[in-house]
Subunit: 161 residues, 2 copies
């Protein structure tokens, strides 16, 4: 299939300097602060974003290379199909995080609940809207009963370089 | 900044053949069926996905070209900063939809609540997990009081080619 090329629109900064010890989801990163510096040419595209309490960040897992079709994720001891996990090593290594938006000054966004490594290239920002982004009558397969572990669990080096 | 290149992992099929008349969000596409055909080389990566009732599809808005920094979205009559909207014409035209997963047979996923145009290149599949993908104490800025319109609103041609 044809390839698709994207150019980052900014950079995400956080206290997580390596792939080890990163909270594995925003729910495990409560209160951890970071920032997003958007390229100045997109300044006008940030208008009205400040009205939203939460935003969806799409980014490239720049510290991940390669992938396996089956992986042992942080929250389980057995292997699962890669697409049934949120592991960062993927055919197209795109990450999603719903983070809290604290403030915007110029092209810098202060954010909270940051489970993203420092220096991550940002691909897109979307407003988080529950009516669009959530669902009802949900089943979560192998993750059933395991997600609260993500509150404490930090990454080890398995998906790093 | 350095460019990032992705190769689609599959194709999304839906009844929406053009950019006009597409439901603007999954919440407005209730019951609309579609399918995802994943490249056979990723078959093993689909293991255990069927336990999830909902999945997050990341895809490339292949019918969108170019973008404006301020846009008049389908749900409002005034212009807003692009990143405060979900308009498909974006610097990196990546779309996200939370859809219902009905079944998986081989590399074909039957899905429901499909707000995606037919033939859309698929970039990634992630399990939808409320603890990871949702937030609390939410404010939705200019969209306040407008999201229920998305139940009926269909796209017109403004973000098409």
């Amino acid at each position: 299939m044809n390839t698709i090329t994207y150019t980052p629109i900014g950079i995400i900064h956080s206290p997580h300097k390596t792939t080890e010890g990163v909270p594995i989801q925003p729910s495990g990163a409560k209160g951890i602060k970071g920032s997003v510096v958007v390229d100045e040419k997109y300044a006008d595209a940030l208008a009205d974003l400040e009205g939203f309490s939460h935003i969806v960040l799409l980014y490239h897992f720049h510290l991940s290379e390669g992938f396996s079709l089956k992986v042992k994720p942080f929250l389980d001891d057995s292997k699962h199909g890669l697409f049934a996990t949120r592991a960062p090593k993927r055919p197209n290594a795109i990450g999603i995080s719903v983070v809290k938006l604290i403030s915007i000054e110029g092209c810098t966004l202060q954010i909270e609940n940051v489970d993203i490594a420092d220096g991550t290239p940002l691909l897109d920002i979307k407003p988080y809207v529950p009516d669009f982004d959530s669902a009802e009558e949900i089943k979560i397969g192998w993750l059933e009963g395991k997600t609260n572990k993500s509150l404490k669990k930090k990454s080890d080096n398995r998906f790093g370089l």
